[in-house]
Symmetry: C2
Subunit: 304 residues, 2 copies
């Protein structure tokens, strides 16, 4: 949970509420009741925002509020929003964060480990009891700097959700298909590789599955889209109550649909306002986007 | 029809047979009988290659062989094969090419206009009688240098097949969805925007459709993949004998499947060897790639 200052091509937005737990829990709460988050905020974090999360039935018992400033990130996006550079990162209260899972939350069945130090991700896993699915994110910083700890995490992860550059870095393999196969040997039986607006690929025991990004007429801010995707995916899995290949495939559509809302406005502005009927409509549009109208079997050639 | 010298990261391949008509006709010939091509070659073009095309029932009556050298292109690919630079282009016999459609071919119902000067594309259209579908390709060179002629062509085109950069340049609009809407106002009721390995988007009266690229473990040479896609698509449409939205959608899968073979080896090496059973198997793999196992409707939440 964090503040982001976003330098967009069309203007700068100061101290916008962000963070993986925020985006992913809002997305999941559209699909399932009783989402639980773990995190830390400073005394500068708006009480109203925590109230807003609770009104969505997001359980904030695991959110510590401590003296000091919340995590802060400042970034600048390129003109086409396809890339960004980090201008400032202040860990603040996050520097000494030790995630504590409340007793009442230890039996949480579906666990999403956001992108933090892999040792903290392992500490969370040590506090939960036999989850049905452990999904995890990570980033270039931990891949290069904490590979031994990250390998321990991978051995305990069921579903790794990373982007294509991270997959290449983690495996040392340029080709995405072979990179995913390599990563699956290290622990996660399922790997999802995100490619931004170009969609995402799932590699699991049933084979390879592709879910497109939803083509939008306007994108305002990609921040949090990946966390929204992961939160929506886990929300759908939790609602469905199983982790079968077909459930995961449909869950990717929900994650992708929610991510497509997320990028329509700055920070959590849009995702916080999405209604169930808006989501249903976009899911229907998504179904049309991939509907090829029946069988792909080759018709007999007409005589001409 | 051309010779390409390809400087790949793993070696240089001199005077490989290429050209849009070559790739697209080979792809189409896997799906329909009696593909007809129009083009020009020099006296250096291998007779064996023309014989090979004829053995595939590709009608080469419209291929002129004239004194001089065939069109030649030399390019160098980047290490990841994602981009290339042109090192040399020699028009040779192509410089004075005037496409002539043989009398027996003037009633061809499905027409694919490869990427040449838009005036030559118009000259071809003037020689065919009421085709059921006119599909066209173009490139940055004509978009910037021959916009008036290109606009005339667009007015007579039913299906424009271009890549994302060309769509942006043609429309002056960065966003792909809005770029496609703009282009559709200029003539083509259907626009397909290709995004290389990331798949392709169709915009037509039925809405928006997405067809992924097939994830491959190894890509050797992207040259001709776009032409193979277009040829496979037109071949499927010809076989099916209609141009409905659902036919076009399924046709994109065939185009994409054939393009995925094309890139597996240098030039036409791989696409020339693809068998119907290999194509069927890849189409089945494609169907699994996008199969989300039923309805996307949201299940009722289990009580927990």
């Amino acid at each position: 949970m964090a503040f982001d200052t976003l330098e967009m091509p069309y203007g700068t937005f100061e101290y916008v509420v962000g963070g993986a737990a925020t985006f992913s829990s809002i997305a999941a709460s559209l699909l399932t009741h009783g989402v639980r988050i773990v995190g830390v905020v400073g005394d500068d974090f708006p009480r109203d925002y925590l109230d807003f999360l609770r009104k969505r039935e997001i359980d904030t018992l695991g959110v510590e509020q401590v003296a000091g400033k919340s995590f802060f990130w400042r970034g600048r996006y390129s003109a086409d929003l396809a890339s960004r550079e980090t201008l400032d990162t202040q860990l603040n209260v996050f520097a000494n964060f030790q995630p504590k899972i409340p007793e009442a939350h230890r039996s949480t069945p579906y666990v999403l480990l956001g992108n933090i130090h892999p040792q903290l991700q392992l500490d969370v896993l040590d506090q939960v009891e036999k989850p049905k699915l452990v999904a995890a994110d990570t980033m270039n910083f931990w891949i290069s700097g904490e590979s031994a700890t990250l390998n321990k995490l991978l051995a305990r992860t069921d579903l790794l959700i990373i982007n294509d550059e991270e997959a290449r870095q983690l495996s040392g393999i340029d080709n995405i298909v072979r990179a995913a196969a390599d990563i699956r040997k290290r622990g996660p039986s399922r790997v999802i590789i995100k490619r931004g607006e170009f969609g995402s690929l799932l590699f699991d025991e049933a084979g390879t599955f592709f879910c497109p990004g939803y083509p939008l007429e306007e994108v305002r801010d990609p921040t949090g889209a990946g966390d929204t995707f992961a939160g929506g995916l886990l929300g759908y899995v939790t609602r469905h109550g199983d982790t079968s290949p077909s459930t995961l495939r449909r869950a990717m559509f929900y994650g992708s649909a929610l991510a497509s809302f997320c990028v329509e406005d700055v920070g959590t502005t849009r995702i916080a306002k999405v209604t169930r009927s808006e989501l249903d409509a976009r899911i229907q549009a998504f179904a049309r986007l991939v509907d090829y109208g029946g069988s792909l079997a080759l018709p007999a050639e007409e005589s001409r």
